[in-house]
């Protein structure tokens, strides 16, 4: 399919001359072209039904999600999400990479919560090989995951407030996001997709000044959240747009498998960090914000409060950060330290085997779920004894939560449809994998 796409060239004054041909004669969109016979004739004028595409290229769909919306005036009668416009076949690519190299692939699925994807995959593989990671690595993982949760909620708050018209929120939220990315850059070396977790612990210990910087951030962040709330909480337009809109009952949400802030906003206190604590979430005391009505405003309030809780968790993680190794020292799965290579022979052999072929995982399969900013993120790995996973599947929360979008929006107005999609916070990279 890829090689028969026409290579198009164009004469422009850009200095490079290319001849012009009919650009997309062979590139008809294979997605089903909606054949709409003008069905307006049969109905009276006010039942004028129109089916349009809120298509892949749309400012308010938070990525390349396509919604086929059937409208009657402003009322949404029917809604059909069409996905796959960002499908990158990550799960297939992971199958021919060794466990060591799968981590960068796995991070790029839900590109706003990359630390959670890494933790889901590494946790699953660590349980397959029964490798216990040292306590310092656990604390460092939780520290970075909570920072990532705040960053993910900030990007959500910025873009959804932008959708509802509060454009200045975008600049404030991204100001804090940049601070968090500086912290990531300091400890891991990269702003996004850091590949900081590895099977057996963490890639590198945090530098000296990192703890001080994180404490500064934690002392500043609650006041910044107060600023957001001061901007939005009593903003009449924001309240009218989000109050009593897109309400779905708790039972229906549970039936649809929705998890995360959407479920908690509907009054169901279900958070995997509290209920089934992995890593060292058990050592921290934080509470789970739970809404009552389950409308757009509750979802906004729940996520704001979650940011505050994450700041508390980070402070407790920093206080209780244990000393000691930041990666397991089981040489079958973890690279030996560099200085040992020149002295001991078997660490050289381990190093060589790990680097060339990667570690082998005994046959088995496991499903391991953690709480990502959007809900339950599960990683299912099938190992067939070789050094490459036989199957990697991610249960992405956005993919499952999108099924509730239809119940939220049918019957409402278009403006409510935009608001529901903003408050649902789908990440299309995670939906399409």
């Amino acid at each position: 399919m890829a090689d028969d796409l026409l290579r198009d060239e164009e004469i422009t004054e850009r200095g490079v001359a290319r001849e012009m041909e009919d650009p997309s004669s062979s590139l008809v969109d294979s997605a089903e072209i909606i054949h709409r016979e003008p069905e307006g004739e049969g109905l009276e004028p006010e039942q004028e039904v129109l089916t349009i595409n809120m298509g892949p290229h749309h400012p308010a769909t938070h990525g390349v999600l396509r919604l086929i919306v059937t409208l009657q005036g402003e009322q949404v009668i029917d809604l059909k999400p069409v996905m796959g416009y960002l499908h990158t076949g990550i799960e297939k690519s992971c199958e021919d990479k060794s466990y060591w190299k799968v981590i960068p692939f796995v991070e790029r699925m839900d590109y706003l919560s990359y630390f959670f994807q890494m933790e889901a995959f590494c946790g699953c593989v660590e349980r397959l090989v029964e490798l216990e990671i040292p306590p310092r690595a656990k604390y460092l993982r939780v520290l970075h995951m909570e920072l990532n949760r705040i960053m993910s909620h900030l990007v959500w708050l910025g873009t959804s407030a932008l959708d509802l018209g509060a454009i200045s929120m975008f600049w404030y939220c991204f100001r804090e996001r940049d601070q968090i990315l500086d912290l990531f850059e300091m400890s891991t070396g990269q702003r996004m997709h850091t590949r900081f977790f590895q099977v057996g612990g963490v890639f590198e210990d945090i530098p000296l000044g990192f703890e001080k910087k994180v404490r500064e951030f934690c002392s500043v962040m609650p006041s910044r959240i107060d600023q957001y709330e001061a901007l939005l909480d009593r903003n009449e337009i924001f309240l009218h747009r989000t109050r009593e809109v897109g309400i779905v009952s708790r039972e229906r949400l549970l039936e649809l498998g929705v998890t995360g802030p959407l479920l908690r906003a509907a009054g169901e206190p279900w958070d995997l960090r509290k209920v089934d604590p992995c890593l060292c979430y058990g050592d921290f005391d934080f509470n789970i914000p739970v809404g009552t009505v389950g409308d757009g405003y509750d979802r906004y309030r729940v996520r704001l409060q979650e940011m505050r809780e994450s700041v508390r968790i980070i402070e407790q993680a920093l206080d209780g950060l244990p000393e000691g190794p930041w990666v397991a020292d089981d040489r079958k799965y973890v690279l030996p330290p560099r200085d040992e290579l020149s002295t001991s022979m078997e660490s050289l052999i381990h190093h060589f085997k790990l680097v060339t072929e990667g570690f082998r995982v005994p046959p088995g399969e496991l499903y391991y779920a953690i709480e990502s900013p959007r809900g339950e993120l599960g990683c299912f790995v099938v190992a067939d004894g070789s050094s490459k996973p036989a199957r990697v599947h991610f249960r992405d929360p956005s993919f499952v939560n999108l099924q509730a979008f239809r119940d939220m929006s049918v019957g409402g107005l278009i403006a409510d449809l935009i608001q529901n999609l903003a408050m649902l916070d789908p990440i299309i990279g995670g939906v399409d994998r």
């Binding site: 009919d22 008809v28 004028p45 006010e46 004028e48 892949p56």
Partner: protein, 119 residues
């Protein structure tokens, strides 16, 4: 008499001049390279079947009428602002308040009848 209209005419002339030059310049110097896709309506990047003869629902018409009604009312308030300052008499203010009160009654009637909320 013509004196007082001169600024308005100059202002309108400049406006047309600037607007015209930009539009003209654009059409002259802009490279024109029509292709079959460019003419079709844009619907989020997918081929579309919207026919030209699209009939809007009646509720749009209602909202449009109400908007025009109250928008013209605001237009009337502008010259009054200048007049009140110039004549410094309370009578002009009273007159405009009556005008606004009348339209307020109309607004309350429309609101109570439920024409404002969308159905």
């Amino acid at each position: 008499m013509l004196q007082s209209y001169l600024p308005v005419l100059v202002f309108a002339g400049l406006g047309i001049l600037v607007g015209g030059t930009f539009a003209l310049l654009n059409s002259i110097t802009g490279p024109r390279r029509p292709n079959p896709i460019k003419g079709q309506p844009y619907e989020c990047g997918l081929p579309t079947h919207i026919t030209r003869s699209f009939r809007f629902g009646v509720s749009f018409y209602m909202i449009a009428m109400l908007f025009i009604l109250f928008d013209i009312e605001v237009v009337f308030l502008y010259p009054v602002g200048v007049l009140v300052h110039a004549t410094k008499s309370v009578f002009v203010l009273g007159e405009i308040l009556v005008f606004v009160a009348l339209l307020l009654v109309a607004l309350v009637f429309v609101w109570r009848r439920g024409a404002l909320d969308w159905k």
